[in-house]
Symmetry: C2
Subunit: 485 residues, 2 copies
């Protein structure tokens, strides 16, 4: 591995990502937020100068085919740097006076977690709010995937590098060329985003609100420029649109490509897709019934289902928007949401968490063991829907599942060192590693992460990134084997 | 499978187990508890008549070599019936007026959970308290293993049947004969129990207190005839003895056989044993430091370590005794205990939980995946200590781990239907499936399970049994494949 060469690639990622700051800079200029305008412009210049100098200095580093090890280092360093530079405008403009807080907020943005340290969101400059939401949208489909779609950067080794960033165990290849795949994914993502913006504007939102909320929805992020989140609009239409698009964002994007290629039957036969929709509807209906039985303003089936389906979608897709304070819900509904925190969206979606395909695979592995105990001479076979899952993939999935549970438990212990109770510590771990956002206890939907001490914020920033990059990519860098020659 | 023949074997188990009621019947007679005396005697008669009639009626059922499927049915039915009959004396004597409560209490006894519905323990007749603790001791090493040790019941297929009851993925075979293995295990268990009784009596306990507490320790059960549990004695000596014997009971009993055969070096090379002791000491020391820093009566290192090591041992070995109310401890210590609830004792011990060997294997599987991603052409190899774990075993362990997590989450949802909060629902699931006993929230160490509605008590009884028999045995009976010809 040659870190100098790989950091040169990371530098190119930073140049592209920082170029997107031109949009909030424009917003700042037109809104008369001059301090923010100069902060964005200054950061862009800083990144470009840094990147140019670095690329120039390391121009002699050998250019070679990249291994998976290079991929881990490339993706992880790109994300650490992107949050590092992305936090600068908020920090130097004074919007968020502490760099720790700004880093946490922007890492939460890029990783589409949506956990916020902000206490008075609506007092913030519009340009800053826009940038915060835009990081969701960039991180949702992946900044490396984005750059690969735009620039023929990687060549032959590209698949491995994009694989280190892509969510889920199996990214379907639509076409043999990695760049085409990246482009198709980003075009679908862009298309769905444009449709959602239009539909939200039809519901009465202005372009600013519609786009920021769309970024949060399509990326399953959860940042809202409103203190009351989506609940601010108190509109059944807007709730419905955002619920539907959250569910869409939690689906494997490869399915949209299949659907557009006319293979609609394949979509409905997809085992993960069916399990995902099944879990969503069962939980949403159970919560609706529970809410109706308890009353408290949820007395009609329509109203109960509206709030139940929104909150179910927001947790299973790991978005984190809210239309009500689910901390006040009956315990059964709260436990169902807690259970969803272990699942997450589909592989190849923008959602976080363990992912439905892995949950289904581990469940089938357990069932397989029972079968095998009954018929010891049976042949191993594990199917999800119509797809045969190879033994090696089952291994990797089981290892991931175990690593995920250990990461949650370890993070719970680390968080509790600052004195938070079991419920808060555990759900903080679940919602940061799973990129969800709000949890229970002191990080409930009406609370924020401001109260955590600095070392917890840095730890959680790392946890969010590890979760977004699906653990292996980041944890590989922590093994001694990685750094051995 | 022929259920009639298998139930005949289960009937023999009931005859042996009920014979142990002669001891509490004797205690009842000498303490003048005549109602209890007749209740025990009546139950023994009832079981013996039932069993004799059943065996007579089904004497024509074919006698054949047993399959693993038969083993699952045999072990599960034996346990359901043992708790069913074991609950009768408490119920007909009026000590526990509800049969649901009595069943829960005795299933909690046999499974060595130690969760109790009793609100005023010390008001109970001594004979009932003794029986309650004795069920721990019988269930700890296993009632089927016990009967196999006493009677040449099973012949060739015996290993499979005992395997369905034994804790942990790999029961070492000391000798090729299953009956010898069962006998050796029970003799070691008996020997350690006698030593603990003597040591506790040297600390000032009478024979009754010393034996009931020994049953709870060696079986990692946790029932105490005192309302304040072991804290009642307020003795550093007794705390130390019980801590040490809890830790001993959480070790693989095969290691004692090895140690006695002079293979002491093998014992200390055992990967699971080292991991178990490592986790125990690290957590005990971390909690000691946390308690000392917080003060509150734990200001000397000795005092802090005394309480920290006792509570650490009680949770990791899944015993459930208490010498203080750890609900009042700082959150970091509570989260560490919560983390231990996921681990449990060693395989082949009387402890419950996931078991250390499985935790270590899943952790290594995760690490292996990272290695494999770095070196895709590496050869698969997974070692715990010096022992190579075969690929098929790793599969079974990963499946078990997944099933365990799902069982916990599913049980959490079921418990929450009665309105308990996330912390109570989750720890109730953890401590019943893991056979621990006390948890956090409404089932903390100073609380009890009385408040749960009847359907939750039946569900938890099943959950305790499923946990004690390591899930697969019981869950196999719930699959359609099991009942297919």
């Amino acid at each position: 591995m040659n870190p100098f060469y790989i950091l040169r690639l990371s530098a190119i990622i930073q140049v592209v990502v920082s170029a997107f700051m031109i949009i909030p800079a424009g917003i700042a200029a037109s809104a008369g937020e001059m301090l923010e305008f100069y902060s964005f412009l200054g950061t862009i210049l800083l990144v470009w100068i840094f990147a140019s100098v670095y690329i120039l200095v390391t121009r002699r580093a050998p250019n070679r085919v990249l291994s998976s090890r290079d991929g881990f280092f490339f993706v992880t360093s790109s994300w650490i740097l992107a949050a590092g530079f992305g936090a600068i405008p908020m920090w130097i403009s004074g919007t968020i006076p502490s760099y720790t807080d700004a880093y946490f907020e922007i890492m939460s943005g890029f990783t589409t977690t949506g956990a916020s340290i902000l206490t008075d969101i609506e007092a913030l400059p519009r340009s800053i709010l826009f940038w915060r939401s835009l990081t969701h949208w960039l991180g949702g489909m992946g900044i490396v995937v984005l750059v690969v779609a735009l620039i023929p950067l990687l060549g032959a080794g590209g698949t491995k590098l994009v694989g280190a960033e892509s969510p889920g165990p199996s990214v379907d290849k639509f076409t043999p060329k990695i760049r085409n795949n990246a482009l198709i994914l980003w075009l679908i993502y862009l298309g769905l985003s444009v449709i959602e913006i239009i539909l939200l504007m039809l519901g009465g939102m202005d372009l600013f609100d519609a786009s920021t909320h769309t970024f949060g929805t399509m990326a399953t992020g959860g940042f809202s420029p409103k203190a009351a989140s989506v609940g601010h609009y108190n509109s059944a239409y807007i709730d419905a649109i955002i619920t539907i698009f959250m569910v869409l964002a939690g689906c494997n994007f490869a399915l949209y490509y299949k659907a557009m290629s006319g293979k609609l039957r394949d979509v409905f036969r997809d085992g993960e897709f069916r399990a995902y929709l099944g879990i969503f509807f069962i939980v949403a209906i159970l919560i609706s019934i529970n809410l109706m039985l308890k009353g408290d303003g949820y007395d009609t089936p329509g109203r109960a289902f509206r709030y139940a389906s929104f909150q179910t979608a927001t947790i299973i897709t790991t978005t984190g928007y809210a239309t009500c304070d689910f901390e006040l819900w009956p315990n059964f509904s709260k436990v169902l949401l807690f259970f969803l925190m272990f699942i997450g969206g589909c592989s190849g979606s923008t959602g976080g968490g363990i992912k439905v395909i892995r949950i289904v695979t581990v469940a089938k592995l357990a069932l397989n063991n029972i079968k095998y105990m009954l018929h010891p001479r049976g042949v191993f076979s594990l199917k999800v829907g119509n797809t045969q899952i190879r033994k090696e993939v089952v291994y990797t999935i089981a290892g991931f599942f175990g690593l995920y549970i250990f990461t949650i438990l370890f993070s719970t212990i680390v968080v509790s060192t600052c004195g938070t109770d079991i419920e808060t510590s555990l759900t903080t771990a679940l919602v940061t590693v799973g990129n969800i956002g709000p949890g229970f206890g002191k990080i409930g939907p009406t609370e924020n992460y401001f109260f955590f001490p600095g070392y917890i914020k840095w730890f959680l920033s790392l946890a969010m990134m590890a979760g977004r990059l699906e653990l292996f990519t980041v944890f590989a860098l922590l093994t001694p084997q990685f750094w051995r020659k």
